[in-house]
């Protein structure tokens, strides 16, 4: 049993354990959930310790048959791309447990059971190396989130949950079709096997085939990211979800989309990816600016943060489709950064909600006076979110824009506008919520951070500084993984070119390099 399998199996065991606890015993349920999630987090740190960056292969691999016919295998393993995303998932799950401690007071057992089960699905998405297995995990993670929103959400929770479910399903059905089609061509669901078939030229797609397959995967991922204009499920889902749901959704689930783009879309369909990169980049840039502008005028805090996610994730997509080492490294770093800083923002907004029972910015003001520590933590998170140097987002945004500048400077110019706008919406939010004189309801209800709240938010704050200053803790495995992804996209293009007329070929090869 490898460490990775333990990380996958323990949440399922935890899920069963929680089911076994009597449902009146809230304390035992919470404690069990916290213990299991902390244990998984501790184990996942072992992955980072024992991960060998110099090895150019997947590590902690398990590859055994699962279903005989069609041949579906339980094939899991991690590289530098998955490593930190797994740890991000295992970190945010205990945070989700802690922020729900008092927030969730009905159907407690079901809530924690689903939360812990979801962790398994999330980890599975990032480690599956069999396309069918990947699809299974993709759907497994979807269902608990549907219930978290639909059962423990606010007033319009049913609308939001159904919208979330339908949007995601619409995408994943197309992805399933593409996966099955790939199987019909390659006779295997095994991802490394398919990749080597493609690399060796034994599996070829016509341009039309490749475009359709690319779009099948792309749509599923783009909805999940979400890429403009497929984003409208996100604000509703976030506003209605309970705090833990928002945290996991923003921090981890959105990354499933960008992870999929990097892991599958680019290496499998390099020509189509490059061919479609221009308009995808333009959509990403529109998302960056548009998300920021819409975030600026939101009267609801969670909606504001949700639209800011659209803006931030635009940077990730832009970095991926720059096809440069810097851009890819920045994109992956930005995935982690967004998980930390936006996760922290949702945690903090949740703290405010627990006190004042409102998400409307207008109901706040002067919070800094009764809750100075909360104000400081919120300020640091705000600064991280707007990309202040020394904090984490700066590094990711810098690398993405630097990578983009090497390809198309005009993209960089427009995308960088988003950095100006991020300061506008976040500082305006901060001013309205925290500065000024505190009105009576705020003074009466808002108190400073409790020890439990500190324990949920402090690790995230520490990571903001750590990831902003000591980037070498995290970047080397990411860089190595991205270098291999880029290598794949080059190999394939060269191969693909051979089938084209000689005149077009030289131009194509030149562009690929």
């Amino acid at each position: 049993m490898t460490l990775l399998n333990l990380c996958l199996a323990l949440p399922v065991a935890g899920f069963l354990l929680i089911l076994a606890i009597p449902k009146e015993n809230h304390r035992a349920i919470r404690t069990a959930a916290l213990a299991v999630s902390l244990l998984v987090f501790g184990l996942s740190l072992g992955l980072a310790v024992r991960f060998d960056t110099s090895l150019p292969a997947y590590q902690f691999v398990t590859n055994v048959p699962w279903i005989a016919s069609p041949a579906i295998r339980y094939h899991v393993g991690i590289d530098g791309l998955s490593l930190w995303l797994v740890i991000l998932s295992t970190l945010l799950t205990p945070v989700g447990v802690l922020v729900s401690w008092r927030y969730i007071d009905r159907r407690v057992k079901e809530f924690y059971a689903l939360l812990i089960l979801m962790e398994s699905g999330l980890i599975g998405v990032f480690v599956a190396l069999d396309l069918f297995l990947f699809y299974v995990f993709w759907e497994v993670s979807l269902i608990p989130m549907y219930f978290l929103i639909g059962v423990w959400g606010h007033e319009r929770r049913i609308y939001a949950a159904v919208k979330f479910f339908l949007f995601t399903m619409a995408g994943s059905v197309l992805m399933l079709a593409a996966i099955i089609y790939l199987y019909t061509q390659a006779a295997t669901f095994d991802y490394p096997a398919i990749l080597s078939l493609v690399a060796e030229g034994r599996l070829r797609f016509s341009p039309l085939e490749e475009t359709l397959l690319f779009l099948g995967f792309f749509l599923a991922f783009a909805i999940k990211v979400p890429l403009f204009p497929l984003h409208t499920w996100l604000p509703d889902a976030h506003v209605e979800a309970p705090t833990a749901g928002s945290v996991i959704l923003a921090s981890v689930m959105l990354k499933m989309g960008t992870y999929g783009l990097l892991r599958f879309s680019l290496p499998l369909f390099p020509s189509a990816s490059r061919e479609h990169a221009p308009w995808i980049a333009v959509l990403a840039i529109i998302g960056i600016i548009y998300g920021a502008l819409v975030a600026m005028v939101q009267p609801n805090m969670k909606k504001l943060v949700a639209y800011s996610s659209v803006s931030h994730l635009g940077f990730v997509v832009l970095g991926i489709f720059s096809f440069t080492q810097l851009g890819l490294d920045g994109a992956v770093y930005q995935m982690l950064n967004h998980g930390i800083s936006t996760g922290a923002l949702f945690v903090l907004v949740g703290f405010l909600y627990e006190r004042r029972h409102s998400l409307e910015i207008a109901d706040y003001g002067g919070v800094a006076t009764p809750a100075p520590n909360l104000a400081v933590v919120f300020m640091i998170t705000t600064l991280a979110s707007i990309g202040l140097p020394v904090l984490n987002n700066f590094v990711g945004e810098y690398l993405v824009l630097q990578g983009t500048a090497q390809v198309n400077f005009r993209w960089t110019v427009f995308a960088a506008i988003g950095i100006i706008l991020s300061a506008c919406y976040m500082l305006w939010l901060y001013q309205r919520a925290f500065f000024g004189a505190a009105p009576e309801p705020v003074r009466a209800h808002v108190h400073d951070l409790s020890p439990r709240e500190w324990s949920a938010i402090l690790p995230l704050v520490v990571l903001m500084v750590w990831m902003g200053t000591a980037t070498q803790t995290f970047l080397p495995p990411i860089g190595a993984a991205n270098a291999r992804i880029l290598e794949h996209t080059r190999q394939n293009v060269e191969f693909h070119v051979k089938q084209r007329p000689p005149g077009a070929a030289s131009a194509e090869v030149a562009r690929a390099r």
Binding site: Q325, Q431, F435
Partner: protein, 618 residues
């Protein structure tokens, strides 16, 4: 290894100590940490510079890799060369005096520890800015000082105007930083590194023909960054509002150090600017125009701090004028002397405000000469220095800039001379209004002199303002900027000195000899006076042309129309249609097992056909 890192590390430690423990710690602890850390930093600067001696070549210390991606490596590298040595001395020296002064000025404020924590954090970032060995580390300091500026302007965050001013400063600076960051991206894309030495070496060596357009673009983008941080037209609008912050902040950040970062950066990038003559010309004209424009606004302000704020903008314009005509060392020279006399002007103004219990309006001052003699005499030293009266510090540095400007283009020289006259006028106007005539403020309030902890720094800065012209800054910087300075031309010097003296005399005539004359003249000028008094309505124009369209457009067009009505409307429409489709499909669910079986068969056939069509299971 001389442990350069200790220089910024001391204030950083001070920030952490006061930030974490200051709230519950006694005041003595806060003072010791806050002021002591800057004192240690200053001493370590002196120690380092003594050890380094003449600094013929830059001394670089490399500590660790900050970011590494692909071929690009960005290190945490600190540099001590002649330019950064000057800046380190100014930042820690003037900074130390202002920290000491703050003990007195902030004594009765709540959030005392917070003030010193922010101030120390500012020192850390400012030192990082001037010691950085590459563009990105410079940018870290650059954004970091902006953050501290934001925090300190909004120090009294219960006041909406203070919070607004802080936010405005941050956002306007972000617009400038947008330009700066684009320049960084271009530099890496074309030179593959961000370290100063290789970039500048490449700039010097590569043939100009291939890179002229690129270098001009880079230099212009850097200028955009500089106009934000150093409050030049068109991005100067944040600095007057920044006066909402406590006065020591105005002195340290918004006069002596942070706002001069743009000048420092321009001088640091001199090799780029020298290969981009068009951009250099733009620097000169932006500087000259700002110098004149801001000085005219300063003529008509009633708030003593606003007068000095516009004066700062104007003097920064001088520095850019100097750099823009190729006299980088003269620009830095003026940066140094300006740090002395403008810090003094602000601290003196703070002492006046302190004496009057918070009053900042010049119309409600007067006659303070007797109650606050030390403040008066030290402020007078600053005033003669800024007015360019020989042989005091401002005379030397302004003179160097004007001579170089004349050498480059007489028009720039004359703009500078007129500005010098305006400068002398508004500074002495403020001085006369505050210290001469009769006291016009609240009769129940009794003005008093400030305590020694405030007046001693005033005296130290007064000495520097008077004698700062003899520090030999241009000669020290000479090897870094290989452009020869023009020979002394006595006639040009005489003209500028006369302009300054005329300004002082006019101020005397208007506000001491003939009180009331100023109001009559203002009334006669009518519309022109209103235009200047209202700062040319620039804030209003920006509000109507930029801020409102963006906010309202985002609200009405982007959010309510595009997002809610169009995109989400389509989604919901699709949902509704799916629902009506569902009504049709519901009839299929008849409960009849035989019909289910038929549907299953139909579906299976479809799948088989589909696989047969596209290849199928093998």
């Amino acid at each position: 290894m001389l442990h350069l890192w200790l220089i910024p590390a001391f204030p950083l430690a001070g920030f952490l100590l006061n930030g974490l423990f200051g709230r519950r710690a006694p005041k003595l602890f806060v003072n010791l940490v806050g002021v002591g850390s800057v004192a240690l930093s200053f001493l370590w600067v002196l120690n380092t510079l003594a050890a380094l001696g003449p600094l013929e070549t830059p001394h670089i210390e490399r500590y660790f890799t900050w970011i590494q991606s692909g071929e690009l490596r960005i290190g945490f590298d600190l540099v001590a060369d002649r330019l950064s040595a000057v800046m380190m001395l100014v930042v820690t020296g003037v900074g130390l005096l202002i920290h000491v002064y703050s003990i007195g000025y902030m004594a009765h404020e709540s959030g005392y520890y917070r003030f010193f924590a922010y101030l120390n954090l500012f020192m850390f970032f400012m030192l990082l800015l001037v010691m950085a060995g590459n563009f990105l580390l410079l940018f870290v300091g650059w954004e970091g000082v902006g953050l501290c500026s934001y925090l300190l302007i909004g120090f009294w965050f219960l006041k909406k105007s203070a919070a607004d001013a802080g936010k405005k400063a941050f956002i306007v600076n972000r617009i400038g930083d947008f330009g700066f960051s684009l320049a960084i991206y271009l530099i890496v894309a074309h030179f593959g590194t961000l370290d100063f030495d290789p970039v500048f070496a490449a700039v010097r060596e590569r043939p100009l023909e291939t890179d002229a357009g690129l270098l001009t673009l880079v230099a212009l983008l850097l200028l955009v960054g500089a106009t934000g941080k150093s409050a030049q037209v068109p991005l100067y609008v944040w600095l007057p509002d920044a006066m909402e912050g406590p006065t020591p902040v105005s002195a340290l950040i918004h006069a002596a150090t942070m706002v001069t970062a743009g000048v420092y950066m321009t001088a640091r990038c001199a090799p780029i600017y020298l290969q981009a003559p068009i951009a250099l010309e733009a620097v000169a004209w932006v500087g000259a125009f700002t110098a004149f424009f801001a000085a005219t606004i300063g003529l008509a302000q009633h708030d003593i701090k606003k007068v000095f704020a516009y004066s700062t903008i104007s003097q920064l314009g001088y520095m850019f004028l100097g750099a823009g005509v190729g006299a980088f060392s003269a620009g830095i020279y003026h940066l140094v002397t300006h740090a002395f006399f403008k810090a003094l002007l602000f601290l003196g103004a703070g002492s006046v405000i302190h004496a009057l219990g918070g009053e900042q309006d010049l119309r409600r001052m007067g006659g303070l000469r007797k109650q606050a003699p030390v403040t008066f005499w030290t402020l007078l030293c600053a005033a003669v220095a800024i007015a360019g009266v020989p042989p005091f510090s401002g005379f030397h540095s302004k003179d160097a800039i004007l001579l170089a400007a004349h050498h480059h283009s007489p028009a720039l020289y004359w703009i500078g001379v007129v500005t010098a006259a305006l400068t002398a006028f508004y500074v002495f106007r403020a001085l006369f209004l505050a210290f001469f005539g009769d006291y016009r403020g609240d009769p129940h309030h009794h003005p008093h002199e400030s305590p020694p902890v405030m007046t001693v720094p005033l005296m130290a800065l007064a000495a520097l303002s008077l004698a700062g012209g003899y520090f030999g800054v241009p000669a020290w910087l000479e090897p870094m900027f290989p452009v020869s300075e023009p020979a002394h031309d006595v006639a040009l010097v005489v003209v500028s000195v006369i302009a300054g003296l005329a300004g002082i005399a006019t101020a005397w005539w208007f506000y001491v000899a003939r009180p009331g004359l100023a109001d009559r003249v203002a009334a006669q000028l009518g519309g022109l006076y209103q235009l200047v008094y209202n700062k040319y309505f620039v804030d209003e124009i920006y509000g109507a042309a930029v801020v409102r369209p963006v906010v309202e457009g985002s609200e009405k067009l982007a959010w309510r129309t595009l997002d809610v009505s169009v995109i989400d409307g389509m989604v919901n429409g699709l949902g509704a249609r799916a629902q009506s489709l569902g009504d049709v499909l519901r009839r299929i669910q008849s409960g009849n097992v035989r019909s289910y079986a038929a549907w299953v068969l139909f579906g299976a056939v479809l799948v088989v056909v589909a696989f047969g069509f596209w290849g199928g299971w093998q």
